[in-house]
Amino acid sequence: MTTIKKLLKNKPLIVLLAASVVVAIINPRFLTWGNILTVLRQTSINAVIATGMTFAILIGGIDLSVGSVLGFCGAIAAAMISSGINVFVVVITALMLGTFIGFLNGTLITAGRLQPFIATLGTVTLLRGLILVFTKGRPISTGSTGASEAFGKIGTGFIGPIPIPVYIMIVVFILAYYILNHTRIGRYIYATGSNEEATIYSGIKTSRVKLFVYSVSGMTAALAGILITARLGSAQPTAGAGYELDAIAAVVLGGTSMAGGVGTIAGTAIGALIIGILNNALNLMKVPSYYQDVAKGIVILAAVLLDRKQKLSR
């Protein structure tokens, strides 16, 4: 009884279920096994980015640089793979690079005392420039070496019936859930987002918490960059442009407060799925792509407004 009540209070979940039912009625193909796997695979990229974004938003910050980190780390990975470097080395390097960029964002925000919005916006411009310099504006193919074949598996492979990116997404969710709910740093993330001053008074160095959070966000963005590059077999210079917006939308749809301190990973997972289903449905219904964005925007605004209404009423 109480669990049902709790579930009914979970607005994001209701929206997710309602959206699924509506889409399934309009187009029965939606509920086919193949299509469900497609939705999950397509969701995985945004879901991974949104996980890092959840951390950033939970401490009351934001990370606008995720799309460009994705693009940059993807390009570096593609170049390394095409020159035949071992996949394992490439993946670790790309992840470390993303983490390092995130750490720099964190440093600008803590030591440099910049607003997260401004600091990460600056990083976007910088990285987009570097990507163009590095790729000379052309896609970088991963080539056809042994390494590239193995690398491609990360994006296109299956284990059993399920695509590998879906496993990765699930592992990322579980890790993030663990960090947020069962570790000290996770508790400190919520505390910093709720009341930074009181957190400092509790003997916690909130600047370290922030460095950790932006590093995580950089790392998940790099992971998404690996997934996308592996799937396409090449790194596009414009890869990831605008992805930060889908990630933020997923986090907010999942009920995380932009003011910080309140939110869950489960919410973000649901939020990412809602966006994934929406994209899928619009494709299934053959809505022209320009109209897809309009429709998506309207649905996101409606969902967030609904949630807000609920919270304001006593």
Binding site: R184, S194, N195, A198, Y201
Partner: protein
Amino acid sequence: MKDIAVSMKHITKNFSGINVLKDVSFNIYKGRVMALVGENGAGKSTLMKILTGVYLKTDGEIYLDGSEVSFNDTHSSQEAGIAIIHQELNLVKDLSIGENIFLGREPVSGRGRIMWKRLYENSEYWLKKLGLNENPRELVRNLSVGKQQLVEIAKALSIDAKVIIMDEPTGALTPAETQKLFNVINDLKREGKSIVYISHRLQEIFEICDDVTVLRDGELIGEKSVSETDEDKVIEMMVGRKLSEQYPRIETAIGQDVFRVESLSNEFVKDISFSLRQSETLGVAGLMGSSRTELMRTLYGIYPYKGDIFLNGTKIKILSPMDALNFGIAYVSEDRKTNGIITDMSVRDNITMSSLKKFTSALGLINKNKEQASANNYIETMSIKTAGTYQLLKYLSGGNQQKVSIAKNLNTSPKILILDEPTRGVDVGARKDIYDLINKFKKEGMCIIVVSSDIPEVLGICDRIMVMHEGKISGFLQQKDATQEAIMTLAVGKDVYNDDH
């Protein structure tokens, strides 16, 4: 015959199934001051929030001047002439004093422009009346808690309401400020206005109030004329039993010097030297603006300083609260909402916030069972009234939040415990519990510093009293020689150094 201004009848309030007020009836009379008293969590603030439309009642009726009313928000209760000074400060810290006083009611010209001059002049009038010598253009952030409290009061007074509710208005005020407020209350009475006065300081009730209503556990215990009752009777109504001696100070053998501060100075304090001995309770008294809180925060690593601090004879440098806690120095803040507790987190999370390391494995995983046990332990030993360890702190009454704030610091097992206004907003019974705790720690050898504006409290529980005046130490008094007058003389800066030890 007393004229009824407001009458609340059979008020019931449930918060998500929990019954907080049960069939409570409450009257406010014209031209009189009604005291509303009860233990922490008795439902005083909730009752007043229902009257002013902050919360919706579950059941019952409210009559204003004889006709039934129902307010859905504070705006409509204000329109009807009811103003409230909330227990928790609700000021916008980055706006000026004047902007805060007139927030949402800014005087505007015919063309829609804010008339700043009028706004600041009016603000100045109310500040003067309350004896607050501050420029109304000053940002609220730069004011001490006590002064912020006065701004809250000015804000409520400026509404020119018929009924003014004061929920623990004097918690952060010094005796002089309290006296000014009482003068204002007497003026208001003379103008025929009605006042509700909530306080845990019962002496105040007998000084300023005409009637008293007592709540216990959400139930009405009774209404009495102040003239026909006394403090002991009121306490008995509040707690349901007689209380033994209010200040249970114990003598312990005071040991070696543990903590020593030498010529400490910074932007707030000047040339501070004192030492603390094992098992000693040092009271710190002074007027508002004497920088007592700033000194304590300096010792806690919030502000940088010049000078030396020694712990057990070794020189230490305290650069952050993390350092302070590592050295065994804990600080219970006077401003709990801003930096004492995290209101959006649970009772459990707050109680373990400063000591989470203790509950974490080598891998960084929190042992939730252990954490839960610790939280339950404090809830029990400190009688914290809460629906459970999972309850968010914002749903606890003010006094219970204060207990959580103390518990959080105790959990770090400090050697030196700094308590900044520890009993502010804490009811008589719980206050005694806190004194008993202080005594227990004292016996265990802990050094305790108690900063308090409540002079009887300082006199009652401390071994030695340090008095400050404008950022400097103006003298020390041993418990046996200390009197209210001696403290006040030093506090206003009439005397210089007496003696240490």
